[in-house]
């Protein structure tokens, strides 16, 4: 018998006669949050990321200020002019996102237009992410519903961190040490 057949047979025998289980779904699937933008900004700030909440018209100037003096990767589809940087020598990357979650302060990239490849948001030390207010949902269930599992997905909650030394949180290990988020309202 192949390993596959044998494992499947063992499972069939182990659960034979066991009753099936109903899954209760009475947890919150759409949490009521009055100010999702405010809560998202507060929760991202909690991770010691840099956060700005700005009207859309002021975003380009803020980006210019943030990237001044840095060699940046600008992924295809990011709606500002710019050239490609080199992964190894770039100082930073600028991206948009697919969805953001207020309750957990999380940004999700699906690596679609303007979000670069997985490596581009990982190797450079600085990540600047522009989040549109209409991309922010209140909780995790709404984010899951908006995402396509067929795409590679990267969920980011603050900069790289470790708690391995005496359980003290230290920012910046292998991923970008600085995460800057501009919320465009």
């Amino acid at each position: 018998m192949s390993a596959r057949e044998e494992i499947l047979a063992r499972i069939g025998k182990a659960v034979a006669g066991a009753a099936d289980v109903e899954i209760p779904r009475d947890y919150r699937t759409a949490p009521q949050v009055e100010d999702v933008v405010g809560l998202f900004a507060e929760r991202v700030d909690d991770y010691r990321a840099i956060v700005h909440v700005l009207p859309a018209a002021e975003v380009p100037a803020r980006i210019d200020e943030a990237v001044a003096g840095r060699r940046m990767i600008v992924p295809d589809g990011f709606d500002r002019d710019g050239g490609w940087g080199d992964l190894d020598t770039a100082d930073g990357v600028i991206t948009s996102c697919a969805v953001a979650i207020a309750e957990t302060g999380t940004i999700v990239l699906d690596h679609g237009p303007g979000q670069g490849t997985r490596a581009q948001t990982l190797v450079p030390d600085y990540h600047l992410c522009v989040v549109r207010a209409d991309q922010i949902v209140a909780g995790v269930p709404e984010a899951i519903a908006r995402l396509d599992p067929a795409r590679p997905l990267t969920w980011i909650s603050g900069p790289s961190a470790t708690s391995d030394i005496e359980l003290n949180r230290v920012e910046g290990v292998h991923g970008p040490r600085t995460l800057e988020v501009i919320i465009s309202t």
């Binding site: 192949s2 390993a3 596959r4 044998e6 494992i7 499947l8 063992r10 499972i11 069939g12 182990a14 659960v15 066991a18 009753a19 099936d20 289980v21 109903e22 899954i23 209760p24 779904r25 009475d26 947890y27 919150r28 699937t29 929760r43 909690d46 190894d88 979650i101 309750e103 957990t104 302060g105 490849t117 997985r118 990982l122 995790v140 269930p141 899951i144 599992p149 067929a150 795409r151 590679p152 997905l153 990267t154 969920w155 980011i156 909650s157 790289s160 961190a161 470790t162 708690s163 391995d164 030394i165 005496e166 359980l167 003290n168 230290v170 920012e171 910046g172 290990v173 292998h174 991923g175």
Partner: protein, 463 residues
Amino acid sequence: MSATFLGMPGNFPKNAAKAVQDSQLRYNLRKATHTIRGKRANVVGELPDWQELRAAGKAIKDHTLRNLDRYLVQLEAAVTRAGGTVHWARDAAEANAIVAGLVKATGETEVVKVKSMATQEIELNQALAAQGITAYETDLAELIVQLGDDFPSHILVPAIHRNRSEIREIFLEKMPKVPPNLTDDPPALAEAARLHLRERFLKSKVAISGANFMIAETGTLVVLESEGNGRMCLTLPETLISVVGIEKLLPSWRDLEVFLQLLPRSSTGERMNPYTSMWTGAVEGQDFHLVLLDNGRTDVLADEVGRQALRCIRCSACLNVCPVYERAGGHAYGSVYPGPIGAILTPQLRGMSSDLDASLPYASSLCGACYEVCPVAIDIPEVLVDLRAKAPHAAAERAGMKVAGWILNDHQRLARAQRAASRLRGLVPKRLPGPMSAWTDTRDIPEIPEESFRDWWERNERA
């Protein structure tokens, strides 16, 4: 998983007795577990629907386990459709052989690893070393353990038994090119690890990971982490091999909405862990292999009481609240799965033929704190008691229990026995001789009263 994993052939009471003598270890553990307990309680308290999420998590896992064969076949089809290759492994040896074969086929002799309990359980690093392949751990805590020729002592933070000055010593001694003026400041230690691993990430061609979840419906694999070492390993190498226990399955994409709330809050006490990577099949040109691991899991599934241990999502909340773990430390359990969950999972996965494994169901005071914090409501005390009944018992103990049963089953016999005990109370020693000394080594013999309650009642109430 061999019974000699930690080079501790003894049993839990012996290992624990040694560990509690180590005041540095007790201090490190107390500080760490109390920190994480507080953080967890805060972020769990933020969610008004925590109990509903917990009930859903428990039910999703039970439903999956009940239909595990069907969902595994569905997962296999989805992963294959998305360009991945699925392998099945009955036991550790089979899984290790599959992984070694896949690495050799790439022509590489070095691999980078994302921290994974499954690969520790099957001792993959040692098996690869025997085939001339070097596996480099990239999680900071795993790196500390690997460089220190040490063993992990916690599911989530394997180096929890080490403090900053001990970590600095290990780095200075074992890390090439480490700055000689390295301080024991945690950011400085993290920076040293970053420099040490960066080049390895960029040049590695093969990576090995586990997974926190696999989605049957879509074939998606999910890894939660904090440092970015996981993202590095999962993203940059050309070949990715994931070794995953068959119980890590969830039926549908939607189920992640429950577990992505339960896991981070229970494990690190954060609203969300810094990084989560999800991929479905071969992503961005990578060659992807999934090794599905049984290694005793189907035996656990066959046990009606014990199978709930397979709901475990390895959050380690039970370790952090356990008064026994806090004092004895992870090494005393002699397994990659320490603490309360280890006390029920290890003897089920390995059987109870060794002295160590038979002692694990007793590594608990049955206080129930582990059950209370478990995000998937595993009734650990219930399983512990069930396993105690199944554990092998010495002939003297079995005979003693038989006599006790005979006495307790008849009230007249009990009354006579109590009277006899009262009369002989002066002769009872402080410590019992022979095989019964194991009991009195760790407990005081209760004082036997001059008169039993029965006799007192007879004298006072009947008269």
